[in-house]
Symmetry: C2
């Protein structure tokens, strides 16, 4: 039984990127288990843009209170249990927080769930392609209602969610264009993932390239970033296009990147739908089955960027906003 639990607690609400000290390392004693509790060792932490939101704003979950362990999804293994549903060795997923150990009790049932052992599927896949990112891509594309031959553009296309969105678009027979921030990311999504084209928005002529890559306009904008990229995509939307507003990552560290004109929505008769994955919790199993099948048949490829060490979590979060990761970003505790 461990005695010390390293935690990262929220000390300041960041402005812009996280500064040293916004997350404060603390060594907390591990309390003995009561009946109905289990202790889990956190093995992997999912690093997601939404964490930056949790640090500053109430959304579907309240902002993390100052002084509390920073909220995060994680993958953990039960190491001791006085809870009837959990046995030593069970693997669980849920809101572990940025720490070495987490107590799982009956009150946590909603957020923790057991993870099966599946041959050829890595533990970390449950945080990415078969986890929150895969689910987000799946339900977002359900909202988008892609039709064969339509053109889909996804931003943050080499990210954990965007890379799966594009592959689901290909499964549905769409022409898929990804927007990303390095030539390496662009090469990955085209050569390995099968996107039809990729646009590096850091090239000065990227808007002309976007136009050239979407000769028939754009039917679906799977929006992850907002700002200038969103504006360029909206400008090329076809009549009756769909805009799935999944994230506005370009603005978590800046002013509002979501500004857009409903005049465009009106004239082009767009359907713009915001969504947050937790609203679909009751359908996660259904989606995970489909994602698992696609993965098994080689239709969904994924890549991970693994950062070693809990103490690197703050740097890892910043990587999301500076373009440092390709695919799923994970901290190995």
């Amino acid at each position: 039984m461990p005695t010390i639990n390293r935690q990262l607690r929220l000390q300041n609400r960041p402005k812009g990127l996280l500064a040293p000290g916004d997350l404060q390392p603390v060594e907390d004693p591990v309390a003995p288990l009561s009946d109905g509790q289990a202790l889990a060792r956190v093995k992997y932490l999912s690093i997601d843009p939404t964490m930056r939101v949790w640090m500053v704003a109430d959304t579907y979950l309240p902002a993390v209170p100052i002084g509390e362990v920073m909220r995060a999804f994680g993958f953990a293994e039960i190491i001791e249990s006085r809870h009837p549903d959990y046995q030593k060795g069970d693997r669980v997923m849920g809101l572990t927080g940025l720490q070495d150990y987490v107590i799982v009790d009956s009150l946590d049932k909603r957020s923790f769930q057991k993870v099966p052992k599946i041959p050829f599927v890595s533990d970390t896949a449950f945080l990415g392609v078969l986890g929150i990112n895969g689910l987000t891509a799946f339900f977002g594309m359900e909202i988008a209602q892609p039709k064969k031959g339509e053109t889909l553009v996804v931003s943050a296309a080499a990210g954990a969610t965007g890379s799966i969105v594009g592959q689901i678009g290909k499964i549905h027979g769409c022409r898929v264009i990804g927007i990303a921030g390095t030539d390496e990311k662009c090469a990955w999504i085209v050569k390995d993932l099968g996107f039809d084209a990729a646009i590096n928005y850091k090239h000065p002529d990227w808007k002309e390239k976007l136009a050239a890559a979407t000769p028939n306009g754009i039917d679906i904008d799977f929006e992850n970033v907002g700002g200038e990229i969103m504006q360029a995509v909206l400008g090329r939307m076809n009549l009756f296009g769909r805009v799935v507003v999944c994230g506005l990552i370009s603005g978590y560290t800046k002013e509002d990147p979501g500004m857009a004109s409903f005049a465009t929505v009106l004239v082009k008769r767009l359907r713009v739908q915001g969504f947050i994955i937790l609203d679909y919790a009751s359908r996660f199993m259904e989606a995970a089955k489909q994602l698992g099948q696609w993965k098994m048949f080689g239709k969904l490829k994924d890549r991970e960027t693994i950062v070693e060490g809990l103490e690197k979590a703050s740097d890892a979060i910043n990587m999301l906003f500076t373009g440092g990761n390709t695919g799923k970003l994970i901290v190995k505790v």
Copy 2:
């Protein structure tokens, strides 16, 4: 057979409100009919915000070319026919334009349709409650998917479309709040039309009143105006609310009133849908039947503001943007 056709032709593309001379009066000779043509006397002209758009911008129809008769919906009566489908005395509706007479030929079939004589239904009802405004309200509310007990807010609520939107909201069991620009309009929609509350946005404390009138937030925004009114309504939207973008009338004479944040759309998981009534042309009969039934059973009340004289059409169009009309605005030719 008449010999002179008075027309109003588009001379300048207006900036802001229409200026004298933007619509130029012209006396055109009436050409003799060829086979396959019928001549109709225009009796009533529908004055709609979209006309201001047609003067300056290509949308779903191209902008009216300079020097051509200004486009408008109208109600007309066939006075002479060499067309097999039309007989003298037939009543028709369609894009007559701002003029005394219009030639209806087979090429016009798409835009003209015959109007039946229905007891107790006035000719002008086919331009308003049973015409383009009723249809717009009907299909807009279909997009909104109102549920019993939800709160609906409609702007330009005493206008031809808004006044019907609110009444359809009541039919669906919604709490209905209208926003309008005079106390008289507010009184009309509450006392005569059965809205639950009305907000005069020219009162300094209108935002507080809007908040007080929507204690459970807003589920549906039927958006006709944009700008500050839209911002206030969006600020009170509930999770999973719907925004039907039907018009942005506050901006046809100003800068873009449609600016809004997709961050709100994301966090509140809103569905924002732009629509233009002509997209629903194939379902007009179905909707007109329902509207006619509601009208017959007293569930839809309407009011008209009638301006006499073709030469007043320019002033009438400006009335739409200065709040001069209640209900349907019509020019009697």
